[in-house]
């Protein structure tokens, strides 16, 4: 008989963190303590790896407040909240919602500065967060003397020209600042996250290959196909995802027009840039409506979602609605409504960009990172 090498498991010291448990409960995981570890969730989950599957063990760690085992755990991001687990849980422990709450806390944990994350996650601070862009844009308008809407100069054809209301360079300055802030915060967060994930694990091999494979997977939205209860989510998320991509291209294009060709907005409706922008806006509106519809339809089985989730959805809604309205009101030449709508649009866009590392928007970055890590370490 071949000699077997017995490996003695190392004794871990468990220190329950009651505060962390209470935080999860406050972040939308109020059903957490109902779990009685039957493991139905891991059995019905289609996206978990077979080895050490989730979410049963995460539920246990969460009940005991084992923060270290959760925050830096890539598994919480491999979960795409299909909610199959939540639908089948015999105790109503809603593992999908609990993992959602843990993800929110992971975002808060890694994003810099952390205090801002706490504000984004708490409805108490909502007005304060909105006050920042409102004050900034208001100051710009005031400094230009554009507070009286009728005195704002018009275009050659007498139409509304938003860049005469707030000049594009001013907007770009604000948004470049906000985007830089967000990017730095993301980089710092991801660096810390990667370090935590790889602590004690020797990571080697072709990282670029893993990144490439992950991006391919994300572009195709393959994971969503494995969900049962929330099957419809793939189309909705795909639309939102590509609409954002379209809008990103539109923005870049506009920058090229403006600074490259000194070609000022507004652009005619037949301009390819305009066509892409409008198509993306409509796709986003339709996509986010589907997202909302699916959430409401599945609320009974999949859980009703947290403040964190709904804030994100609401902001996207606000952006797309104010964006489309700005264009329509401009074309209709209704100045009294057009300018305030455009103002609101800028405020919402700022909210999305500047607070991206702290809001649910961050899932894009953390999930992608966790997926790369999981692939790289052969976890997934």
């Amino acid at each position: 008989m071949p000699e077997q090498i017995m490996t003695q498991p190392i004794t871990q010291i468990i220190s329950p963190d009651l505060k962390f448990v209470k935080d999860i409960i406050a972040s939308g995981g109020e059903s957490l303590k109902k779990c009685y570890q039957c493991s139905t969730c891991t059995v019905v989950c289609n996206v978990t790896p077979d080895d050490k599957p989730f979410p049963r063990k995460e539920m246990m760690y969460a009940q005991w407040g084992m923060k270290d085992k959760l925050i830096s755990n890539p598994d919480i991001w491999l979960c795409h909240q299909c909610s199959d687990c939540t639908a089948y849980c015999p105790r109503g422990a809603k593992p999908g919602e609990v993992l959602g709450a843990i993800r929110k806390m992971a975002i808060a944990n890694y994003s810099v500065p952390g205090a801002l994350a706490k504000m984004v996650g708490n409805s108490k601070y909502l007005l304060m967060l909105f006050a920042v862009p409102i004050v900034i844009f208001f100051a710009i308008i005031a400094s230009l003397g554009n507070l009286s809407l009728s005195s704002i100069p018009r275009g050659e054809d007498g139409g509304i020209v938003y860049s005469k209301f707030i000049p594009v360079p001013a907007i770009d300055t604000v948004f470049i600042a906000a985007a830089t802030f967000a990017a730095i915060s993301f980089v710092l967060g991801i660096k810390k996250y990667w370090a935590d994930m790889s602590a004690g694990i020797s990571v080697q091999g072709n990282l670029m290959g893993s990144i490439k494979a992950t991006i391919t997977e994300i572009l195709a939205h393959k994971r969503f196909e494995k969900c049962n209860v929330t099957k419809d989510r793939k189309t909705a998320h795909l639309l939102v995802f590509y609409a954002f991509a379209g809008l990103a291209i539109t923005t870049t294009w506009a920058i090229v027009y403006l600074y490259g060709f000194h070609y000022d907005s507004p652009y005619p409706l037949y301009d390819p840039l305009k066509l892409l922008g409008n198509a993306s806006a409509l796709a986003l509106l339709y996509g986010i409506t589907l997202v909302t519809g699916n959430r409401l339809k599945n609320a009974e089985k999949a859980g009703k979602g947290s403040y964190f989730d709904w804030l994100f959805i609401a902001v996207i809604y606000a952006i797309v609605v104010t964006g489309i309205l700005s264009e329509l009101l401009r074309l209709a030449n209704i100045a009294i409504l057009a300018y305030p709508t455009y103002f609101a649009h800028l405020v919402f866009v700022f909210f999305l960009f500047a607070y991206a590392p702290f809001s649910k928007m961050a899932h894009m970055v953390y999930r992608a990172t966790a997926m790369v890590f999981a692939r790289h370490t052969k976890r997934d």
């Binding site: 004794t11 871990q12 010291i13 329950p16 009651l18 448990v21 009685y36 246990m60 760690y61």
Partner: protein, 716 residues
């Protein structure tokens, strides 16, 4: 009594089409010389009943033999007070289970003959009447005992309650709070006052309850309905007349000093669940550590401490899971404190699952499955609970400032007979080692029964259970005690023959004092006098007739059941002269095997034409002379169908089928000496739900007997 037999053959339920009723009638009239023989297409209908009643009134019929269906159906219709009623089950045993007209006819003729003979040999029962009292003695003044006392007293019975402690209340007195009673879901508050004082007051002020505190039952003499119970209190003894007894003597916690590996006795901060109650009660709900009096904030509960463990208590104590969930709520009254529960399995049966759900739904209550391997010093005044195979990891330790051991229930009867019965078979309830010392039984349908008639066990002395279960148990046991007192007063048996007015009557002149009956009676109903002669205490008897089967002198008989009666039935079974047609007698227990045969019949399953079935009260009543009688008459084989025996016995009389098996072992030696193959007589254990096996069991046995060949005594 002079018998005037009327035989009534029913032609309904296809009996009339399957057998030649006229031929049966002629046999009855001519060969059996029965004066009144009639047939009707529906005897159980009004017209049929009237026909019989008319004959009873006008023709002087006083013994009614019904050749119709099983006695297990239509017994309300076929009830003729003052008459012996005998049922030949033609429908089940001749029509539904036999193939072909010829077999059905032969079976019908045999069964009619057998049951006419049974009627001829029987007599009308007369109850055994004695002077009785109906006072109920409740032993134990805990929640079970007090409930039994109140229930009995409120039902109008005098109650004597004996409690060994100076005050009533039992373990509930020690509790800080209790689990509330809820219908369906539980909600806060999950811990409520025990209110035991109210119950104690109600018991002590009840005019029908006499309470003896600091008292013990010194002696229980006599029999149900007429017990003389000696109660000793503070050195004084008093004899009280008692009808029946509820044994609610309770429990004690398992000796935690045996749990040194879990830190008990090593650290002051390792306590038992009962000790935690005392801590909470003493400090008005605050959980203070015994070592330094500081408030405990990290409390570890170790479930199954010394339980479900072959080195300690092998069983589950049923109430500790809920107790720990409740005590966790004591801890988490302080919202900074955590209560950590380490379990093998959480067992919260029935509605308590809702309590588990509610108690668990608290951020401060943390639970994990795993094996606790030890409790060690953490070096900082706290303790480490060490676990393996836990849901938190392979090998983990968790720091706690107080460790609570969920120790189990040890029944009072484990080392104390409590009842101190003056029975020849001993002072306590027999064979309690089958139940780890609990006063339990395998009587699945009659859970409060003990092996001593008139003694009903309730609460934790019977099985580990929680308070509300104990109250339910006590109510059930009180009802059984009342029923037994009433039955004994009327001279009727208690369960399972709760209609039976017969009692064992022994022809003592021929008794050799061999004492087999006194040894074998499952209920200790037979004592013996100074000369060693056995005598019955009929109140203790359950009428299983095990004594009748045991007696080598065959002197025990009942009015409607005796050795000669069953022997005569066998002797009158037809024995085919052809060598390839064996005749086999099946003796079937009335509790499981016979009902199973009835079910098989209802499902029209075939029963081999070779067999004739006789119903017995219990296989324990099988007297070996029957085997000799039958085989010497040319019967080729005998099959005994009885209940499962041994550790998980299902015998309704506990020992009957086991004794039958034991006796059969003896007779098989004898058969061997007579050059008869011992395989001709066999016993098979059969449960009531195994009806679908019966055809095969019987068929296989017939085939075996065929292989052995015909009985050489055939034709003699």
């Amino acid at each position: 009594m002079d018998k005037n037999i009327g035989l009534y053959i029913c032609t309904g339920c296809s009996i009339g089409e399957s057998i030649d009723v006229e031929k049966v009638s002629n046999i009855a009239k001519n060969a059996l010389r029965i004066p009144v023989v009639k047939s009707h297409f529906a005897l159980c209908g009004n017209e049929g009943i009237e026909l019989i009643k008319n004959d009873i009134k006008n023709e002087g019929v006083n013994t009614v033999v019904l050749a119709a269906c099983s006695q297990r159906v239509k017994y309300e219709e076929f009830d003729f007070p003052g008459c012996i009623v005998e049922r030949a089950p033609l429908r089940e045993l001749a029509v539904w289970t036999q193939d072909g007209k010829e077999n059905a006819q032969l079976a019908a003729e045999d069964y009619v003959k057998m049951h006419v003979i049974k009627a001829q040999k029987g007599d009308l029962p007369e109850p055994y009447l004695m002077e009785t009292v109906k006072t109920i003695l409740v032993i134990g003044g805990g929640i079970a005992g007090m409930t039994a006392a109140l229930q009995s007293a409120n039902a109008g019975y005098e109650v004597v309650l004996v409690e060994k402690e100076p005050q009533l209340g039992g373990f509930v007195n020690k509790l800080h709070k209790k689990v509330p009673t809820a219908v369906g879901e539980y909600s806060e508050p999950l811990i409520v006052d025990t209110d035991i004082d109210k119950t104690i007051k109600e018991v002590e002020s009840h005019p029908k309850i006499k309470v003896y505190k600091s008292s013990k039952v010194e002696k229980t003499d006599g029999q149900p309905g007429a017990y003389d119970v000696t109660i000793s209190s503070n050195g004084n003894s008093e004899v009280v007349k008692i009808g029946t007894i509820v044994l609610a003597a309770g429990w004690r916690p398992y000796d935690a000093t045996k749990l040194e590996h879990l830190g008990y006795g090593v650290s002051k901060d390792v306590v038992t669940n009962i000790e935690l109650e005392e801590i909470a009660k003493k400090n008005n709900g605050k959980i203070l550590r015994p070592s330094d009096g500081k408030e405990a904030k990290k409390v570890a509960f170790i479930q199954c401490a010394g339980q479900r463990d072959p080195n300690h208590l092998p069983y589950c104590s049923a109430m500790c899971c809920v107790t720990s969930l409740k005590q966790a709520k004591y801890v988490t009254q302080n919202s900074d404190a955590t209560a950590m529960i380490f379990y093998k399995d959480i067992r919260t049966p029935g509605r308590l699952e809702y309590y588990y759900k509610a108690a668990q739904n608290d951020p401060c209550v943390m639970m994990t499955k795993g094996e606790v391997t030890g409790v060690a010093d953490a070096g900082n005044g706290n303790l480490y609970v060490e676990m393996e195979n836990s849901l938190l990891g392979q090998k983990v330790k968790i720091e706690a400032d107080l460790v609570v051991l969920a120790t189990g229930v040890v029944p009072a009867t484990v080392d104390d007979p409590i009842l101190n019965l003056q029975y020849r078979q001993g002072p306590g309830l027999p064979d309690l080692e089958l139940y780890d010392g609990f006063a339990d039984s395998n009587f699945i349908c009659f859970q409060y029964e003990t092996r001593r008639t008139g003694v009903y066990a309730a609460g934790c002395v019977r099985q580990p259970m929680n308070m509300s279960e104990a109250q339910e148990d006590a109510t059930g046991a009180a009802l059984k005690a009342i029923q037994a007192a009433e039955h004994v007063a009327k001279g009727i048996a208690v369960h399972p023959r709760a209609w039976d007015m017969t009692y064992p009557d022994a022809y003592m002149q021929r008794c050799t004092s061999c004492k087999r009956c006194t040894e074998e009676c499952p209920f200790g109903a037979i004592d013996e006098d100074e000369k060693g002669t056995p005598f019955y205490k009929p109140g203790r008897c359950r009428r299983c007739a095990t004594c009748m089967g045991a007696c080598p002198e065959r002197i025990v008989s009942f009015k409607d059941y005796h050795v000669d009666m069953i022997g005569s039935m066998m002797k009158n079974v037809s024995v085919p002269s052809e060598d390839d047609k064996p005749r086999i007698i099946v003796l079937a227990c009335e509790n499981d095997a016979y009902p199973a045969i009835d079910t098989a019949a209802l499902k029209k399953m075939n029963i081999d034409a070779a067999v004739r079935i006789i119903q017995l009260r219990c296989l324990g009543s099988t007297n070996l002379v029957w085997v000799a009688d039958a085989l010497s008459r040319g019967i080729d084989g005998m099959l005994l169908l009885g209940c499962k025996f041994g550790e998980n016995y299902q015998c309704h009389f506990a020992k009957g089928s086991e004794l039958a098996d034991y006796r059969l072992g003896k007779v098989q030696e004898t058969l061997g000496r007579l050059q008869l193959e011992s395989e001709r007589v066999q016993m098979i254990q059969l449960a009531i739900d195994e009806y679908d096996n019966i055809s095969k069991i019987i068929h296989d046995f017939v085939e075996r007997v065929k292989e052995i060949g015909p009985n050489p005594f055939k034709g003699f």
